[in-house]
Structures are given as structure tokens and as C-alpha cells.
Symmetry: C2
Subunit: 340 residues, 2 copies
């Protein structure tokens, strides 16, 4: 684990090293070098000082310093389709071979056709039925190995980069900055808990027990060698989106976090729950408004709406009212990816 | 939290301090002074050395050192009735006042009668219906405060001690010894997750996020002041007993632990799951065979069976076959409680 993590970190930070000594000195004095100066960066630094300075009225003991991050669209690219769905699609041919009746299912038929336009029109329920049929039925350790093997070579089509390279460098710096100040950083994702756990440690420095996600039921039974394993059931146990996010936070963490970062309507309840707590709390939201360097989507500020990561106007209005910081990719992030 | 924890620790360790300098020196050289020399103590020390010595073939990196403990009957007294049930009973009069129709329910009527013999005959399903009606319907923070207030003054009848004083001193030493060797210690209990979280930190040094327990659903809704809260639903989400224990471990921890300690048939699957992993794994079971200092129960070795903490002969036989260590309270534990 540690070795792989170091390798990944080296990969992610490679760009910085290339800047030479001056760049390094900057990085040392500024923990958030990929953030432009402005209210978002200021808000982060002020929050961290307020909650970690023992003399501050908003001081939070180290054990209670919890920060939660949505993943898709908040820590890495979610457009044009969630990476986990791409993984599910990659398994469709093998699953249909084992269960030929699925070839007549509309969703499976569409995925097998390879017709991108038709695939783009599948409903979220159809996508979830594909996920349910392709990502369950095996034991949790086999599943983890399969995700690990896939994600080491699967590439996004726009950049021709590994999906794990499409993490936002400003957020990697923010995770490190929070951890350097005693915060424990959790992912709270609508994606599958076990999917994200398979790569969260090397990619984000976040261990499996700090990943809260959509949970499937598990069956305890003897494996191939007779030794007991946990088999992934298609039965949904917790849909970790919307109100499911605060629920998942309570079940796994059991404390109300001090800090939450999201990017869509699915993060609204997490932001509400976190910022309703006493003392200093900070809610932040990524606004995808940079079509050139990443994507621009969501009706807030007149951007087009899409199937993933909807950022409705009502969330924007609520953010203004509640004092949640809306982060513009275009103006607040100096650099988006480590490879830039 | 830290302050309270120090106070509790002082309370728990008070007995040792009274022994004076010689006792202290012993405690310093022996991390498990309340354990008698023998195979159980040896097994623990060997396991810890094997998994933490970097030169050992069974070395486990610090991040993967996870130890899981059942609570009732493993970390504290569960006899004659689980403490959480006593708490639920204490709330019955108030709940019946609010919902008078419950006075006609057989289980509630029996609890209200105060007839101990009749209460002792209630089935586990009846007990769970009382728990469901008395320990849900409030928000999680209110519930936590109520458990905290109750457990600070509620006393067991045999010893007239706080329930939190009825923790086993050898196990407190074992938790500390494991943590001193880089292990993270989790409770994995059939009891309510939020019940145990309310006192696990001061009593065991175990923070809320390291308590896995029986989970109820949660509803996210506005509280009395309009701010959002999580309300405890009567709907059972995970019964963290038997096969539910490995399931809860995977959902909350996401790693297969190296070490598990239980005391009853409800811990069997956790022990199976943990010890089926590769490398050095250790399973341990408390046998309650000391009627004088604590209790003697369970059919294994001819002791009487009881409603709580059943230790069937089949579990004993399986332990012998699998190499799980059966700990005799009578012969392996020099001291059971800190107040002795």
C-alpha cells in the first residue's frame, strides 16, 4: 500500500518537481499552490485556522476534526459519465455470456450496441440495473481485485489519461492541507463504497475505512476453498446520495463533520447537515464552469443541465444564503490536473 | 472528551496505583498484569510480536492492524441482562405515558409490573419490540445525550457499581496493549451502535467511528429549531450479530481484521471471517466459568445455558479445531474488575 501510494503521489506531483527550486519554495510556503488567491482560498485558510488554533473560540479538538468530500465532480472528473458506469459497461459482454437472457434487456442491448447516442439516453434507473447485474454476485475481495486491475489501465477518451489522473490537483492539495492540520478526510460518495475503496488510498491518501458510499447487502458464505467470504448482493442497503449522505456519515463516522465539499444537488443534504452544526463549519461546492480546461454544466448561472452532477439554481441560491463557498473552476483553480 | 477519558482511566486504574511502587514496576514491565501466565496470555503476546516485528514473515503494516471486540460478555458484564435492555426498560413508563395503547402490549405490561421472574421470561423478540419502541423516534444527538446521562448514574444490582465500572480490567489492558502496538481497536456489537458510541470513548478509549453495531434507519428532517437532524427510525438496517458481524465489519471498516475476540455463538461468524484471512490471525473467546467473581453460564463444559451470551458446545469444539483461544475467566484472569 505505502509503496503504491508513494508511486502515485510521485506521479501526481511530478509537474511541481519539474518547476525546479523556485516552484518548490512556493509550494512550501503556500499549501494550496493550485488555488488562485480569492475568497474561496481565503475561506479555507480562515476555517482551518479558526478550528485548529487552540486560542480560537471555534477550536475543535483533533479527534473531532472530520472533513467529508463527495467524489464524482468534486475530486475527479464525472463528465460525460461516471467512471463506475464505464466499469459496469466493460463487464456487460462477460455477464451477458453467462446470463444470455440479459441480451434482450433494453439497457443491456443498448450498451452492447455501442451506440453512444442511445447509451447517453439511458435513464438513471436503467444504468443502475446494469450496475446491479454487473457489479454484484462476487465476493468483496474478488471485486476489489477486479476494480484495481481495471482502473490501472482504463482511460478517459478526451484526455487519453487514466481516470485516476483526472483528479483535481487543487483538491489533492486541500486534502493534504486538511490532514496536515489534524483533519481526517472522508469520501462520501453516491458511487459504490467498494468501488471507490479499491483505489482511494493510492489516489487520494484515503484508507478504506474512510470511504462512505452506496452500500449493497452482503451474504456470508463459504468461498471456493470452503473458507468464508462476503458475497455482494444486488440488494441495495444504503443509497448514499441526497439524504442518504448524512445517514451514511452517521452510520460509518458517527460524528457530524466540520467541513463538507460537494458539487451537485446530491450533496445538498450533506452540506445542510454539516453546516447546521454548532461552531465553525464550512460548506463548499465546485461549479463546473470551465469548458476549455474541463467541462461546463448545470443550470446555475445559465450553464446547460446534464444527467450527471446537476447543480440546480436552487442549490446556488441556497449556497449564497447559507454562506457556502461556491468554487469556480475557471477563476479559483490555477491548475486543474497535475499533468497540465 | 479527553478530560473525561482521563478521569475514567484514573478510576479504572485506581486499584493498581494503590499497590505502590512494586506494583507499578510490575505493570510497566508487563503490559497485561491482570492476565495470569498461561497459553492465553502467551498466545496474545506471540500474535502481537508476529504481526508487528518487521522481520517476521507475518508482519502486518500498521494501516492494516485491525482488532475487533464484541462488547456484551467480552468487554463488560452482560449477565443477567444486557445493559441496553435495562436502559430501554427505564424508558418504558415515559413512553407508555406518551403512547397509552402500549400499556396493553404484553411485553410493556410485564415490564411495568416490575415482576422480575415474568420479565426474565420475555422472549428476545419481545425485548427487541421494547427496544424498538423506547430507543427510536428521537434525533441521534438527543439520544446520545440521554444515554450519556443515564449511564453516568445507572447501577448494576449485584455490585451496586456503575455499569461502566463492570468492564473487565484484563480486556482494558489488552485494548491498550494492542493500541500501543499500532492496532486500531473496534467494538463489533450486537448492541445498538449509537448506544455503545455514547460511552465507548471514555470507557474503552474507542471513538464513535470505531464502533460497529446494530443499526437503525435514519430520517433526515428539520429539528425543533428548523435545523436538520437525523431521527432514529424503528426500521432495522443491520442486525450486527451472527453473519451480521462480518457484514458490519465490511461496511464500516472495509478490511478483514487480524484479530477478533468474542464470547458467544453470535460471535462465531466474526471469528470465522477474521481467522480465515491469510497470514497470522487470532480468534479468542471468553468462557464465563467464574460464578464467584462474575458468572458461570453457557452449555460448554456443562455450565447452565442462559438467555444472554450463549456459548454452545459446538462453538467450543470449533474453537479447539480452529485454534481459537478459549479464555477461562477463572484461570486466565488474575483480576476481573479494576475496583477489586
Amino acid at each position: 500500500m505505502d509503496l503504491r501510494r508513494r508511486e502515485f503521489t510521485a506521479l501526481l506531483l511530478g509537474g511541481t518537481a519539474a518547476l525546479g527550486l523556485v516552484g518548490q519554495a512556493d509550494a512550501e510556503s503556500d499549501p494550496l499552490p493550485s488555488w488562485n488567491a480569492g475568497p474561496a482560498k481565503d475561506g479555507i485558510v480562515k476555517f482551518v485556522h479558526a478550528t485548529t488554533d487552540a486560542a480560537s473560540p471555534d477550536f475543535v479538538p483533533a479527534a473531532e476534526r472530520i472533513a467529508t468530500f463527495d467524489q464524482d465532480g468534486t475530486l475527479w472528473v464525472e463528465h460525460p459519465i461516471y467512471t463506475q458506469i464505464v466499469f459496469a459497461f466493460s463487464r456487460v459482454p462477460a455477464v451477458v455470456k453467462e446470463r444470455p437472457e440479459l441480451a434482450n434487456d433494453e439497457a443491456f442491448k443498448t450498451v452492447l450496441s455501442g451506440d453512444r447516442e442511445a447509451i447517453g439516453k439511458l435513464s438513471m434507473d436503467q444504468l443502475l440495473s446494469v450496475v446491479g447485474a454487473t457489479l454484484t454476485g462476487m465476493d468483496v475481495e474478488t471485486y476489489r481485485n477486479e476494480v484495481e486491475a481495471w482502473i490501472k489501465q482504463a482511460r478517459d477518451q478526451r484526455w487519453n489519461r487514466l481516470y485516476t489522473e483526472l483528479v483535481y490537483q487543487p483538491q489533492i492539495e486541500l486534502l493534504n492541507y486538511l490532514r496536515a492540520n489534524g483533519y481526517r478526510t472522508f469520501i462520501v460518495t453516491g458511487g459504490g463504497q467498494d468501488f471507490v475503496r479499491a483505489y482511494a488510498e493510492p489516489v487520494y491518501g484515503i484508507p478504506p475505512e474512510q470511504v462512505v458510499g452506496t452500500m449493497f447487502g452482503l451474504s456470508f458464505k463459504p468461498g471456493a476453498d470452503g473458507k468464508p467470504v462476503l458475497v455482494r448482493d444486488p440488494k441495495l442497503l444504503l443509497n448514499d446520495d441526497n439524504a442518504g449522505k448524512p445517514e451514511g456519515i452517521h452510520l460509518v463516522i458517527g460524528r457530524r463533520p466540520q467541513f463538507a465539499f460537494g458539487n451537485s444537488g446530491g450533496d445538498r443534504e450533506m452540506l445542510e447537515y454539516v453546516t447546521a452544526g454548532a461552531g465553525a463549519r464550512l460548506g463548499m461546492i465546485v461549479l463546473h464552469d470551465d469548458a476549455k480546461r474541463e467541462y461546463a454544466y448545470g443550470p446555475a448561472q445559465g450553464l446547460p443541465d446534464t444527467k450527471v452532477g446537476t447543480f440546480p439554481q436552487s442549490l446556488y441560491d441556497q449556497a449564497m444564503k447559507e454562506g457556502w463557498i461556491v468554487v469556480s473552476m475557471k477563476t479559483d483553480w490555477k491548475r486543474i490536473f497535475a499533468f497540465e
